[in-house]
Each structure stands twice: as structure tokens, then as C-alpha cells.
């Protein structure tokens, strides 16, 4: 997640950054005024260029996300008119830029710690285990590149065998491989004592 950016925002506590992200997203969706949304977008962009230029570069590199926003805006323009589309574009554009700033200036370790702390009230209410929530978020971030590598390996295997790429033949090895990894990860988490409430299981396999 974080590459050292040299930005002053790296020194801001992650909880403050996440709270700011939440507040900005609420504010952006409270107003439908183009003037206010345009001003907000402009201000965020200028602040990012001044204090975290790296985030702007990363935001521009996230073209699938920007393309999705553009597609949704086009659809909105077709259905509800240009004004609604512009509102949506400004909201999602600003929000994605602020989210990128938080992402590039916060390490995953800090992120997990913050989410875990934020989830402690849920644990007190008996709804969820705070460390499990933090760990789940860390695992999702950790295994995104792995799933991509697995996908590329399956694609290569198809090409090597001269098989056409079909969703049905791609999905099965991806799901099987991912489930096998999930089993190994669960074992590793237990073995490392990361989850304090895990219990031993009877689980022999092809060993």
C-alpha cells in the first residue's frame, strides 16, 4: 500500500485521515450544488498537488477506477441529464482522490491497527472480534496480487495447452487454488497464534 512519498500527510495519524475521508464523503453526498462540489474538487486537487503530488500520480494511474467512474457518469448523463452526471463525476472523482491520498500515506500495518481499534466497541457489544476485522482487511490487501498472479498462471496454462480462454475453465482452477491457499493461511494463522481465540482442530490431510 504505502510507498514512501515524503508527504507531510504521512505524519498525520491514520485515524484522523480515515475520519477525514469519512467526513468528506458524507459532505460530498449531502450537497448537490455544482458550485460547492466544483469548489471542493478544486480545493482537494490543489491541496494534493501542494502536499502529496505522489497521490495525484497514483490516482491517474488507477485508470480502471477512473474509467468506471467515467462510464457511470456517461450512463447517468444518458438517463438523468448532464447536470446529474457532472455532480456524480465531481463527487466520485474527489472521493477517489482523497481515498488515494489516505492509501498512499498510510501503511497497511497502521491501517489494520486503526481499524482494529475502531472495531473494539463492536467487540465489547459481542458482535465481532476486533482483531479479526483488522486481520481480514489486511488479508484482502495482501492477497490481491496473489490472486492476480494465480490468474496469470491459469491464463498461461491455457495458452500452453492451446485452450481458448473461457470464464468457465478459468474460474474453476482459480477458485480451487484460492481455497487451497485459504486453508494454508488458516493453518498459518493458527500456528502463529495470531488469533488468540482459535482452537485446535482435527485436520489431517494428504500428509
Amino acid at each position: 500500500m504505502r510507498t514512501p512519498t515524503g508527504s507531510i500527510l504521512e505524519c498525520v495519524p491514520p485515524a484522523v485521515k480515515l475520519a477525514a475521508l469519512f467526513s468528506i464523503s458524507v459532505l460530498l453526498f449531502l450537497t448537490g450544488s455544482l458550485t460547492l462540489l466544483g469548489s471542493a474538487a478544486g480545493t482537494v486537487l490543489v491541496l494534493c498537488l501542494l502536499f502529496c503530488r505522489f497521490a495525484v500520480l497514483q490516482w491517474l494511474k488507477a485508470w480502471p477506477l477512473l474509467l468506471t467512474i467515467a462510464a457511470v457518469a456517461l450512463w447517468t448523463a444518458y438517463n438523468d441529464g448532464y447536470q446529474e452526471a457532472l455532480v456524480l463525476l465531481l463527487r466520485l472523482g474527489t472521493l477517489s482522490l482523497v481515498a488515494t491520498v489516505v492509501t498512499v500515506t498510510t501503511s497497511i500495518g497502521e491501517f489494520i491497527e486503526t481499524v482494529t481499534r475502531a472495531a473494539i466497541p463492536l467487540e465489547r457489544l459481542g458482535i465481532a472480534n476486533a482483531r479479526d476485522i483488522g486481520l481480514a482487511i489486511g488479508l484482502v490487501m495482501r492477497f490481491v496480487p496473489d490472486v492476480r498472479q494465480r490468474y496469470l498462471a491459469v491464463v498461461d496454462a491455457h495458452r500452453a495447452r492451446g485452450l481458448p480462454l473461457r470464464p468457465t475453465t478459468l474460474i474453476a482452477p482459480m477458485v480451487i487454488g484460492t481455497l487451497k491457499s485459504a486453508d494454508d493461511i488458516a493453518d498459518a494463522i493458527d500456528a502463529r497464534g495470531i488469533r488468540t481465540n482459535s482452537h485446535p482442530q482435527k485436520r489431517a490431510e494428504n500428509a
Binding site: M1, S107, I108, G109, I112, R131, L135, G138, L139, M141, R142, P145, D146, Q149, S181, D184, I185, D187, A188, I189, D190, A191, R192, G193, I194, T196, H199, P200, Q201, K202, R203, A204, E205, N206, A207
Partner: protein, 225 residues
Amino acid sequence: MQVVFNDVSVTYAGRVVLQPFSLRLTERRIGIIGLNGSGKSTFSKMINGLVLPDTGTVTTNGFDARQQAHEVRARVGYVFQHPANQIVLPLIKDDMALGLKRLRLTRQEEERAVSDVAARLGISHLLERRAHELSGGEVQLAALASVLVGAPEIVIMDEPTNQLDLRNRNMVSRTIRSLPEDIIVITHDLELLSGFERVLLFHEGRIVEDGPAEVVIARYQELVG
């Protein structure tokens, strides 16, 4: 180490994975060999309570693996056959620190523990790297580091040199030899076991040979043909 198996057996889905046996492990360097599916990994996973026996008890350094699983796991580190899957967080330093959370150390203490272990294994340069960017040997050492940072008394390594090129294999092999902790290695790499005090040979769910490395390896080669 003091690992005691008392009349232990394991079955899984109607298949006997390990026939009943009793055994005491006390040596500092123990190797486990045998064909695929002979029961090696199941045997080793019982030592830290990842697999529970159907009959009998396993005690590790005085703690019952069934009743005192947390105490056992705090004392036994396990490096899995596919070490990439055991690195839970993207950044190596974050992953190493994750295993320390249960100790409730300060951030400075955590950072010191992580950097000490990384320096000891010669992987300080990997701390800021991401798991998916590392070579096979580096992943193996990073997984070992994430285990060692918890200061285990026993380290179990499942096929630590599997799929490594010669350079990485030698690097991992040297590291294993230099570890002060008690070591149990499951391996098909018989050279890795030279100098080990004791080697167990598994075959079809039984320990068919138990003794010094040279004797057991010779018996294994004879068995395989």
C-alpha cells in the same frame, strides 16, 4: 526439546494416516523423511496442535497440545511447505510484527524485535519489501523470520528447500544450521540432514526407522529401491 507422543494415532476420512505409536523426541536436530502421503506432515502438525490425534496424547515441552494449545503454539514455530501462504500481511516488517501482537509490546519493542531477527537472518533489506516481490529463498527466510520473531523454543520446517535453486537452497540450508533453536525438518532433500542427531523414516503411516541420519537415509534408499 521434550516432545512426547503417547499411544497416538490419526485417521482421516476413514483412512489411517498414522498407525498407533509412542515416541519421545529430545534431540536438538531432528529430520523427518518418507514418501509423499506417508504421514510426515500430520506427525509434525501434531507437535504444535494443528492436528489432533484420535487416540493418545502429545505433550510439547511439558504442555498438552490439546488442552494447552496456546502455550504450545507460543513455543513451537511452524514454517509451512508453501511459505508464501504463511506471510499474512503484504510488507515483510508488518507481517513479522503481526505475530508479536499477542505479547502486547510497545511499538519500539516490536520494531527492535523485528529488526533483530531480520539482522540475524541477513534479511534486513527485505523488511520494506512486499511478499509477492520476493524470490523463493527470500520468501522462505521471511516466513522463518516471522516465526522466529515470536521466540519459539522449537521450529518445525516443512520441506524448506523444496523448489529452491541451488543458491537459495544453500542459503536456507546454512540458515537452518546456524539457528540456536531446536529444529525439526521434514524434507526430501537428504543432504540437508547431514549432521542431524536423529532422523525418523515414515512409510505408510508408520515410523519404520529411527536413528542417526546416515543409517536412516540408507534404509530409506533401500526401501524406495
